[in-house]
């Protein structure tokens, strides 16, 4: 067992010694601890990861009794979608795909979502989406979310009505960029609440705000405000999944309940999401393509462990392409997907993935 075949963050195979793996795991957790100002993994936890990566098994799992709940984002894009959604282009409808996910893939939950998967384009066709939800609910048993992304960037020119911060900031128009984001956030929040209420009317179990804060702190604020309103006016279960480990300060000054949103890491994000009234939180930790999988998994689990400890609601860590320690490549190696997943459960103490 002198040389271990593992992966880099871009998915390429790499051969490392046990000492190399141990050093990468230590460096990964220390990097997360330094950035997030959180504890590094303990010595025992690091050794558990060393053993995990040194096992010859292609597929690994968790101990019996440690199984966790699965939620999903992107609906069944993976079946009928194209390359942009890692889709395999199978000619099935959304409803057929959801039934396949429930009865053949044995998912614990599922969601209805539009192929465009953002709240803004859903708003004008929400009646069609309601009918898809109604029809799906008739024949399925597992909890059913409606999912979409806040995607604040769609509200900026040329796609939307508001000035584009990406144009204003390089021109030094910082105040104008902030005003544009604040105005766009209000409309974005309104769209999210509108769609969520429509889904509640027809019987949905939950709403999934997916890839939250992709456009930065103003988008996070828009989502938190939407969560507050949806929690206060419906009985929907609310999941907030993040876009990245770190909330970008595209605005820089917006706050929620007295906390500045720019620069928050998962263990800080979850407190605000919980305070707003959400039921499930999905932390996302980005993969560094130039570092090894042992480094990436160790780093991701360090962030998620701190998040799980800070949370009072279930934590479903994002473990997909390019997040949660999984390599950033289209055909993610199953050896690393299962190792990242097992580590999230056994060390990250997540409630789901």
């Amino acid at each position: 067992m002198g040389i271990i075949r593992t992966r880099m963050g871009d998915g390429r195979a790499v051969e490392l010694t046990v000492d190399d793996i141990r050093a990468d795991i230590q460096a990964g957790t220390e990097e997360a601890a330094d950035r997030g100002r959180i504890p590094a993994l303990t010595g025992n936890e690091q050794e558990w990861l060393v053993e995990l990566f040194c096992r010859p098994d292609r597929v690994v799992g968790v101990e019996q009794g440690h199984e966790v709940v699965l939620t999903d984002d992107g609906s069944v894009n993976a079946l009928y979608g194209a390359q942009s959604s890692s889709g395999v282009g199978v000619p099935v409808s959304r409803e057929m795909g959801i039934r396949v996910y429930e009865r053949a893939f044995c998912m614990d939950t599922m969601e209805v979502g539009h192929p465009d998967y953002s709240f803004k384009p859903v708003r004008p066709i929400v009646a069609l989406e309601q009918q898809a939800m109604e029809s799906t609910l008739l024949g399925t048993i597992i909890p059913m979310y409606y999912g979409a992304m806040p995607n604040l960037a769609l509200y900026a020119r040329p796609d939307g009505p508001f000035p584009n911060p990406a144009d204003l900031l390089p021109a030094g128009r910082i105040a104008d960029a902030r005003i544009a984001q604040e105005e766009a956030a209000e409309v974005c929040s309104r769209d999210m609440v509108y769609v969520a209420r429509k889904m509640w009317e027809v019987g949905a179990d939950g709403i999934n705000f997916d890839t939250t804060a992709s456009a930065g702190d103003a988008e996070f604020l828009a989502t938190l405000r939407a969560v507050e309103q949806v929690a206060g006016t419906t009985g929907l279960s609310i999941e907030v999944g993040m876009a990245a480990e770190f909330v970008l300060g595209m605005h820089g000054e917006v706050e929620y309940q007295g906390t500045r949103l720019a620069g928050l890491y998962p263990h800080e994000q979850v407190r605000l999401v919980e305070m707003a009234g959400a039921h499930v939180f999905g932390p996302a930790v980005n993969t560094n393509t130039r570092r090894s999988s042992p480094w990436n998994v160790s780093r991701a689990v360090t962030f998620v462990k701190a998040c799980s400890q800070a949370a009072g609601i279930p934590v479903h860590a994002n473990v997909g392409i390019g997040v949660g320690g999984v390599p950033m490549c289209e055909t993610a190696p199953v050896s690393m997907v299962t190792r990242a997943s097992a580590a999230m459960v056994e060390i990250g103490r997540v409630d789901g993935l």
Partner: protein, 96 residues
């Protein structure tokens, strides 16, 4: 956890509806089903139990509860509200 092949959907509902963390959600469902928490992920035990409780099974069994019928029975079993079941009751003027 295995969805309706095991008790994954039931544990998920407790997380979604009551914000229960995983150990609490598993303990709650296990208590309602009168099994151990390890049994919740046991395909053989749960296949038989789900059929006995008539809350939906993974294979296609004629006459077994499916869709809304299964969810109505799950709501009663877990003592929770399921929105789609409540909407159906309203349509039937049964009250939710």
């Amino acid at each position: 956890m295995g969805g309706i092949r095991t008790a994954g959907d039931l544990v998920a509902r407790m997380q979604l509806h009551r914000k229960m963390r995983l150990p609490e959600a598993k303990a709650y469902v296990a208590d309602r089903l009168k099994v151990s928490t390890v049994d919740l992920s046991d395909e053989v035990i749960m296949r038989e139990l789900r059929e006995e409780l008539d809350i939906g099974v993974i294979t296609s069994v004629p006459g077994a509860a499916k869709g809304l019928a299964a969810k109505a029975r799950i709501a009663r079993l877990l003592d929770i509200r399921v929105n789609s079941v409540d909407v159906l009751k309203e349509k039937m003027e049964l009250g939710s």
